[in-house]
């Protein structure tokens, strides 16, 4: 068994040597395919992480009706505190809101001078614990909206869910593109292996005549397919790591991302990618032998 395996491997290596250019080309193409897929996976990974982070710090703004704070301010505040998932309730009076706004405007604060009365409502800012999932924010917001005296609830839902939709679409897009690319990879391996097979056609027919089994004949080609895939996968992973390192160093601590630091693919995903690359090559090799009506 080991002896056979060694022999298959030896023959596969001989084939790779004799068709080195072809194999390098195929492995590079598979590498490119997996680099592209890997880039998508990496982008998704980080978008999801970013989204989770925003969720984790979910804030809900609860705007009150005019005068409601004076009439039932305390009741509203304690009602808000009772909403499940709410960890902090902070009252922001219209006055304080205006002060903060003028602070944010800085030199342009003059535009506020002309206001006859404060246009901003009183509000509560709720902090929600989102370790339980995004749904908690929605429920909390709905419950806050039902409290008497509450005029409006805003929690960036529109924005966040638009982002969620985008990420979901992106995931579907990346997945279909990935599958398409994977199929392309299978065909690329198949066509290169077919070329090697073609170079060996005479030898293979002779091997059949002297009693070699199909398994014996095919094993080196499966090894070559797996090798192509694995080499492509490793190439993709290495390039992805390099690209990631370059991009991450430019991004780390960026204010735009609110201190979010990007992360690389988890080890299991990288390993799964390599297995998938290997499987792509194997599938390509298998496809080579799928020829209906092949001789007895």
């Amino acid at each position: 068994m080991m002896r056979m395996a060694a022999n298959h491997f030896y023959r596969a290596v001989a084939d790779v040597r004799e068709n080195l250019g072809l194999h390098v080309l195929a492995a590079s193409t598979i590498g490119l395919i997996f680099l592209l897929s890997g880039t998508f996976a990496l982008a998704l990974e980080n978008l999801s992480a970013l989204m989770e982070r925003w969720h984790d710090n979910a804030r809900i703004m609860v705007y009150l009706e005019d005068g409601a704070a004076d009439e039932a301010g305390g009741d509203i505040g304690s009602a808000l505190e009772k909403i499940p998932g709410v960890t902090a309730v902070d009252f922001i009076s219209a006055k304080r809101a205006l002060e903060e706004l003028s602070g944010q405007l800085g030199a342009q604060a003059g535009v506020l001078e002309g206001l006859e009365e404060n246009p901003l409502p009183d509000a509560y800012e709720l902090t929600v614990d989102l370790s339980l999932g995004a749904e908690v924010v929605r429920t909390a917001a709905r419950m806050a909206g039902e409290i008497p005296g509450v005029a409006d609830v805003e929690y960036g839902q529109a924005w966040l869910s638009r982002f969620e939709v985008f990420v979901r679409l992106f995931r579907v897009f990346a997945l279909s593109l990935g599958i398409l690319l994977l199929v392309a990879g299978v065909f690329i391996t198949a066509s290169t292996i077919r070329l090697v097979l073609y170079n060996r056609a005479e030898e293979i027919s002779i091997m059949r005549l002297v009693g070699a089994t199909e398994g014996f004949i095919r094993a080196p080609f499966y090894i070559q397919g797996a090798f192509q895939g694995l080499a492509g996968g490793l190439l993709a992973l290495a390039l992805l790591a390099i690209l990631y390192a370059a991009a991450a160093s430019g991004m780390s601590g960026s204010m735009v991302l609110g201190g979010f630091s990007p992360r690389f693919l988890p080890a299991w995903a990288a390993a799964a990618g390599l297995v998938l690359a290997c499987a792509t090559g194997l599938a390509g090799a298998a496809l080579t032998f799928v020829r209906p009506g092949e001789g007895r």
Binding site: R3, N7, I206, R208, L209, G211, E214
Partner: protein, 239 residues
């Protein structure tokens, strides 16, 4: 060797075997027995069906009708999966040698043993042995195109013999060789026969027939003459 004992055991049996290529009959109604240890010449004019008969025996072509048994195995019951194992019992020598031109002489012969998963040491010993038997031990590392036709055919014989087959089928093994080289190849096959191996050799070279112990003659796909195993004399030949 004790011919009496082994001769009672038919190693190849054909019953009304026919082979059609489309509507063209290449072989019709061939019935014959070849016994263990026989050295049989298969002769007949070009197109008589000699190659076709051999091809049916090593399963390069499926037969159209009839039955063939080799060592008691019914060929029509051997499926694709078992065919390699069946073929290992048969050594084949082709007129055009069919050596792998990109492999050395050694590798060409060793392939047969590699394919059955033989041990490396054994392969080395065995291949050297058969190559020395055909007188080509010193050309072990040469590539076939660097050999003469006669030498290439001897490599092919070595390859056919190294798997210890029960039967060797040879299709015009001397067709491309001068008489000296042809003599060497026939000597090798006779040597295999002398050790108890069965040989079925197709040729249309009548000058070789004097070396035959039994002659089968085909004409237009039919068996028209069988000198029989009890009658190595060629008295009946020449109709």
């Amino acid at each position: 060797m004790d011919e009496h004992d082994s001769n009672t055991d038919p190693i190849i049996r054909m019953f009304s075997v026919g082979k059609y290529y489309g509507s063209k009959a290449a072989l019709t109604g061939v019935t014959l027995d070849v016994f263990r240890g026989e050295y049989v010449f298969l002769t007949g004019p070009s197109g008589a069906g000699k190659t076709t008969l051999l091809k049916l025996l090593y399963m390069a072509e499926p037969m159209t009708e009839g039955q063939i048994l080799i060592q008691g195995m019914n060929l029509s019951r051997i499926n694709k999966k078992r065919m390699p194992y069946f073929r290992r019992k048969i050594g084949v020598v082709f007129q055009d040698y069919k050596l792998i031109t990109t492999r050395t002489v050694y590798e060409n012969v060793a392939l047969v043993l590699l394919a059955i998963g033989a041990d490396k040491k054994y392969i080395k010993k065995k291949v050297r042995h058969v190559l020395s038997r055909v007188g080509l031990e010193d050309r072990m590392n040469a590539y076939p195109p660097a050999l003469s036709g006669g030498e290439q055919q001897r490599v092919a014989v070595a390859r056919a013999l190294c798997g210890n087959p029960a039967v060797v089928l040879a299709d015009e093994p001397t067709g491309n060789l001068d008489s000296a080289s042809a003599g060497l190849v026939l000597d090798l096959l006779e040597g295999f026969n002398a050790q108890g191996g069965t040989v079925l050799l197709a040729t249309h070279d009548e000058s070789l027939l004097r070396r035959a112990s039994r002659i089968l003659s085909l004409e237009a796909g039919s068996l028209v003459l069988d000198t029989g195993r009890e009658d190595p004399d060629m008295a009946g030949f020449g109709q």
